[in-house]
Amino acid sequence: MLKIEEVYKSFGNQAGTEQQQVLQGIGLEVGEGETIAILGPSGSGKSTLMNIIGALEEPDRGEVIYRGRKINDYTEKELDRFRNEEVGFVFQFHQLLPQCNLQENVLIPTLVSKADRKEKRAYAESLLKRTGLWEHRHKLPGQLSGGECQRTAVIRAMINRPKLLLADEPTGALDGRNVDVLTDLLMELNRDEKVAIILVTHSRELASRMGKVYELKNGVLHQQ
């Protein structure tokens, strides 16, 4: 489903005099419904790799191929559609819109979706009920706990039934109990919705629940 070939990425310092090589020829293949964890210390380039996979950043070199087509060849419109329908993103911080209630936040990605709104609403309802958030649907993010917000963020990422879920330190801001709840949720979704998951984490425990575990070291992925 997704293939990453020889991806390089570097960042210049502020003076532009030095280049720091973050990713050095990353290669990775992700199959349908596969779960992958990427471990690595801070600043190792995990988030950059996620952003490149999610078409939020461009690699300096190399390709990201999704279902046989290079993402770099996508038009802006196709990129938008890719991010909206094929990929779901979960960040370390939930990034819910504080002005919208839970239900509205969940439905944000459907703003531009051509899919049946009713069906989306019903799906949102089922996911919210499944995660125990249905009774909180009219609450604003500020009225919920961090765990509840992060679960909502996961539902938001799943609302368009993507084939790939990218989770960047999704449990980084959660306490122990909430980490488990969220991990369970992700695994359930993988199981039930057949969504492939790439998860970046510091937590070896969380990583151990994924099908494959990689470690990003010196810009290169090493399978554990």
Binding site: A15, D80, R83, Q95, Q99, I108, L111
Partner: protein, 1083 residues
């Protein structure tokens, strides 16, 4: 959920921030729309004033110092479908309170019931009889009198004979009358009646025209005809008048010879105007022109006959040097055929200067004391002379030595009156005695008795009224034009409020940027969920639009309040620029809509561009390019900044190398370029620092680092302060010191001590000893006299657009080396520009000089442009503006040379504007001397410096408004700074909490934040003040301004202090918030 709903949700959730944004937009809307409303109100008021001062008048016929018969108005209303109102309009002086209260420029209007139709009143003016008068409200207020009370009215004497004509006595040229006030007329009774294009109401007095005629012994005359519509155009009106008027309206008297041999045509004005003379000759080519002149003596071989009339009436074909004398004269001076006799006479100059002249003639014939030579009708009718009982009663305009009058002269007068004693050739007489009033004193048409009637019917139609000084004016159309095109207060206040507007727009941009900056993570999330950048932009734009519209609507309401405040100021502290209390507020819906529309466009631009940039930044996947862009932008900014600064410096160097002439415009452009260049360089520097390596060594470098984190935000704050400082300092520098150097000849006073005007014209040359004696004036000072051709006041005190300013006729030599010139071609300004006035250009083209401010602002012209006037002979004259003076006491007028003046306004009566030159230490003595001597002429005198100051007060008032707006703009800048500062503390709360955690004390953190913002404040203030000093360098170099480096220092200090206080206060609040504590715990 849809984009609209999301926008509404965001709007509500971020309501506090949006409220601030809406207020920013409301301020810009209020300022902009307020300026439009002020403009509308002033325009409405000016138009309203036109209605209130003209009543029903649409056209006028003015005859100046000529007087047409009241019958002309009657005939007009009989023949045409209009009913004009005749008015006898004179200048007067009102004296009340036992002489304590005196108004020198009262307009006295003799009116009858027909004026009621003009005023829209019923019997109000028609009911005036005897010495009862109606006065205008402003006159009553100034004299502190009311109905039933009496006061003394002194008026210029209206005379059918021009008072300035040769031999006409100028004694008793005023008439006094004690009048009783019947009522005080308000604006709705046409109390503000005026034909002048000015918003300032004159002091009016209305009296019965019949009574006024009696007082002036005019016998039913008027000099102003007011038409309440029914007139197509002025050409047609003139033709209609020419078809209706009769010989009396031309000032002619026709009298048949009792013997039935001839008809004599004489003028009430002593001399017959050339155009009338031509008409007579056209009608009767055989008519004999006669010039009879009063000579001082006729002498031969030591014997002399004083004061005699010499005429041209003779059948003999005289050579130019031949003379015919009568027997009486021949006996008296013992002259006979072939003898050479001397004829002495005066040539009377424009100011009644008497230039004695003498001519020798050879006696061709001695004629007996019988007809046709014994004809006393040849003597012109000169009041005070021709009607005198004996020689000793003569009251002439020339000095008479009574000692030289002998008994035999009295006998001659008694027997023959003014029968000419000698006759010369008409051509010779014309050469000697032709003057600006004409060249003949009578005509004789040798036809029978019926000729008088035939001539009466045929002559008037041959004369165009405008040829003899009648003026026809579409006064309503012209006034409306002037009001419509008057000072545009929309533009003015728009311009004056520019910085306030710019400040509000910058604040809007700043607030919006802050708003979207804080929501950057949200926007990233939206992008990450696949929401296209355009949709994100649309949602935010929609939110912004709703905020803008709400702010705009609030702004519209605020604009009305702003307008009210401006009007309160215009009617009080800023009254100097409007000079009327008749300003009314006019709120037009289309104006509000226009203001709202433009404000919304500005607001949307202020929102759209930062938003587009932000969203583009979000959409950009190639983040690393950002640094490259930053470096490139830094280079571009540096190049642009250095270019702008270099151009500014080159302009300055050129200006200094150019030598003496200082062009303030170039300096202002240089300053402006320096401001732009400076700001761009600062921005470039921030960019460079932002993209470069730097080490934090202390709180200052840490402050700089922090300022670099959001460079656009930082540069916006710097810009607001730089612009504010620039405007405040440049405005302050341009303020004129009202009295400094006023005694210098190069200053706006020309070094003159006093500027004076008289209600009654001064006919004599006040440098002449006899004239000074007449008026009881002492020595030790000089009076420069100027003639006046009436026009509108084109000074900055008049809000109307003026097309024909008042003309002053002056002897350029008397102004030589005085005043300063700021415009004119380079060649023109070499030497003495006043000499330009003496140039002879094409026919009917006259060189003129005016105050540059008049040329530029009141007339909307430049040097080289032409003003068109109607000369006294009805022809158009073109006044070419040759040069412009620096702001001077001549503001409001156009100056031409006295010679040109008299060529085109030959019959103009005397001088009415005066400049007094004398030692400053004698100023009190001079003032008392002139006030006492000229009191009865309605002498109004003020210090030249005070007059100049009054004009400068207007400029200074405009600058004050600018200053107020600039200060308000700076206040907005400070508010902007405070908001940025507060938000910044909130944004950085975690970081600040960490600093606290690692041991930074509150004071240190405060110092760090203050350093950061003081740097922004300093950068803005220093850039703005340096640029302002350059922009107003001429003011710093001139001693005639309030500009000084001390002033700049004080302003900068105040601005910095103000900034420091706010920064300290806001930082204190920010660091006190619980949020910081919470953030600290989180971290």
């Amino acid at each position: 959920m849809n984009p609209f709903k999301l926008a509404i949700k965001s709007l509500i959730y971020y309501r506090k921030r949006n409220l601030f944004l809406a207020l920013g937009i409301a301020i810009s809307t209020a300022v902009l729309t307020g300026a439009f409303v002020v403009g509308d109100s002033v325009k409405y008021s000016l138009n309203r004033i036109v209605e209130l001062r003209l009543g029903a008048v649409t056209h006028t016929m003015e005859s100046g110092d000529r007087y047409f018969t009241l019958a002309l108005a009657d005939t007009f209303s009989r023949v045409y479908e209009t009913d004009p109102a005749p008015v006898l309009s004179l200048d007067g002086i009102a004296i009340a309170g036992g002489g304590k209260r005196r108004i020198n420029d009262v307009q006295v209007h003799g009116v009858d019931k027909r004026f009621d139709r003009i005023a829209g009143t019923d019997g109000y003016y028609g009911g005036l009889t005897g010495d009862s008068v109606v006065i205008s409200r402003n006159l009553a207020d100034r004299l502190s009198i009311g109905p039933g009370e009496e006061f003394l009215l002194r008026m210029t004497r209206a005379s059918l004979v021009p008072v300035n004509a040769p031999f006409v006595s100028d004694d008793e040229n005023t008439i006094s009358l004690r009048v009783a006030i019947r009522d005080v007329a308000g604006v709705y009774e046409l109390g503000a009646f005026s034909l002048e294009n000015s918003q300032t109401a004159p002091f009016n007095l209305f009296i019965s025209i019949e009574r006024l005629n009696d007082l002036m012994e005019l016998g039913g005359r008027a000099n102003l005809l007011l038409f309440p519509g029914g007139v197509e155009n002025t050409n047609e009106l003139e033709q209609q008048v020419a078809g209706l008027w009769d010989v009396r309206d031309l000032g002619l008297k026709l009298q048949g010879d009792p013997g039935g041999k001839f008809t004599e045509i004489k003028s009430e004005r002593v001399f017959i105007d050339d155009s009338i003379a031509n008409a007579i000759l056209e009608v009767r080519p055989g008519a004999r022109p006669i010039l009879t002149y009063f000579v001082n003596y006729l002498a031969h071989s030591g014997r002399s006959t004083p004061y005699s009339f010499v005429s041209t009436f003779t059948d003999s074909d005289l050579r130019k040097d031949e003379i015919i004398i009568n027997e009486w004269l021949a006996d008296d001076i013992d002259a006979g055929f072939g003898d050479t006799i001397r004829l002495g006479y005066y040539v009377v100059g424009p100011l009644r200067e008497l230039d004695p002249a003498e001519k020798k003639f050879v006696v061709r014939e001695v004629v007996p004391m019988e007809e046709p030579f014994l004809d006393q009708r040849l003597m012109p009718d000169i009041p005070g002379l021709s009607d005198a009982g004996n020689c000793r009663d003569w009251d002439t305009g020339v000095p008479i030595s009574l000692d030289s009058i002998r008994d035999k002269d009295e006998d001659y007068w008694e027997r023959y009156r003014g029968t000419p004693k000698a006759f010369i050739a008409v051509g010779q007489a014309e050469e000697m005695w032709e003057n600006r009033f004409g060249k003949y004193t009578s005509f004789r048409v040798e036809e029978g008795q019926d000729a008088a009637r035939a001539l009466s019917e045929s002559i008037p139609g041959r004369v165009r009224p405008s040829e003899i000084g009648y003026r026809f004016t579409p006064v309503l159309e012209r006034s409306s034009f002037s009001a419509r095109n008057g000072v545009d207060f929309s533009e003015l206040f728009g311009g004056l409020s520019f910085f306030l507007l710019a400040g509000a727009v910058l604040l809007t941009v700043l607030l919006f940027r802050l708003n979207i900056g804080e929501r950057e993570e949200q926007l990233k999330t939206l992008r990450a969920t696949g929401i296209p950048a355009r949709t994100v932009q649309r949602v935010l734009l929609l939110e912004g639009m709703i905020v803008a519209i709400s702010g705009g609507i609030i702004g519209i309401f605020l604009s009305v309040i702003y307008n009210q405040l401006v009007f309160i100021a215009l009617n009080s502290i800023w009254r100097d620029i409007v000079r009327t209390d008749m300003l009314e507020v006019a709120i037009r819906f289309p104006t509000l809509l226009t203001g709202l529309g433009i404000s919304l466009l500005i607001a949307m631009a202020a929102i759209y561009f930062p938003l587009r940039k932000q969203v583009r930044h979000l959409a950009n996947r190639a983040c690393s390019k950002h640094f490259r862009k930053s470096r490139m932008r830094s280079k571009i900014l540096f190049t642009s900044g250095i270019t702008a600064t270099a151009i500014a410096l080159v302009l300055l160097v050129i200006q200094f190398l150019n030598g003496k002439s200082v062009d303030p415009g170039i300096f202002f452009v240089s300053g402006g370029l320096l401001l732009v260049g400076g700001l761009v360089l600062v921005y470039g520097y921030l960019e460079r620092l932002g993209s470069g390596k730097s080490q934090v060594n202390d709180l200052v470098t840490l402050g700089i680092k922090n300022a670099l984190r959001n460079r656009t935000r930082s540069i916006t704050v710097i810009m607001m302060f730089a612009l504010g400082t620039f405007l405040v300092i440049s405005t302050g520098s341009n303020k004129k010191d009202l009295f400094v150097n006023a005694d210098e000849r190069s200053s706006g006073t020309g070094g003159f001590l006093y500027f004076a005007e008289s209600t009654v014209p001064v006919l004599q040359d006040l440098s002449d000893e006899a004239a000074r004696l007449d008026y009881g004036l002492g020595d030790g000072y000089k009076v420069v006299q100027m003639r006046v051709a009436e026009g509108d006041d084109a000074s900055c005190l008049n809000l109307n657009r003026i097309q024909t300013p008042r003309i002053l006729g002056v002897d350029p030599r008397e102004l030589s080396g005085r005043f300063s010139f700021v415009s004119g071609t380079g060649r023109d300004l070499v030497g003495d520009p006043w000499e330009l006035l003496e140039q002879d250009l094409d026919k009917n083209v006259v060189p003129a000089i005016a105050d540059e401010t008049v040329i530029k602002w009141s007339l909307g012209m430049t040097v080289g442009d032409t003003l068109v006037y109607q000369a006294e002979n009805g022809r158009q004259i073109h006044l070419v503006l040759m040069a412009g003076t620096a702001p001077s006491i001549f503001q409001g007028n156009v100056l031409i040379s006295r010679d040109h003046f008299l060529r085109y306004f030959p019959q103009n009566t005397g001088t009415r504007v005066f400049l007094v030159d004398g030692p400053v230490e004698d100023s009190t003595m001079i003032s008392e001397d002139l006030e006492a001597g000229m009191r009865d002429l309605g002498w109004e005198m003020e210090y030249a410096a005070a007059r100049l100051a009054a004009f400068n007060t207007v400029t200074n008032t405009y600058l004050s408004i600018f200053l107020v707006m600039g200060a308000l703009g700076l206040l907005l800048g400070t508010i902007g700074l405070s908001i940025v500062l507060f938000r910044s503390i909130i944004e950085r709360r975690e970081e600040l909490a960490i600093l606290r955690a690692v041991g930074y004390g509150k004071k240190k953190i405060m110092r760090m934040i203050m350093t950061e913002y003081l740097l922004l404040l300093l950068a803005g203030t220093i850039t703005g003040s340096l640029a302002a000093v350059i922009a107003t360098l001429p003011a710093f170099m001139s001693r005639n301004s309030g500009a000084s480096l001390e002033m700049v220092f004080v302003i900068v200090l105040v601005l910095l202090l103000n900034g420091v206080i706010w920064i300290r206060w806001i930082t204190g609040i920010g660091l006190r918030t619980k949020v910081l504590g919470a953030a600290m715990r989180n971290e």
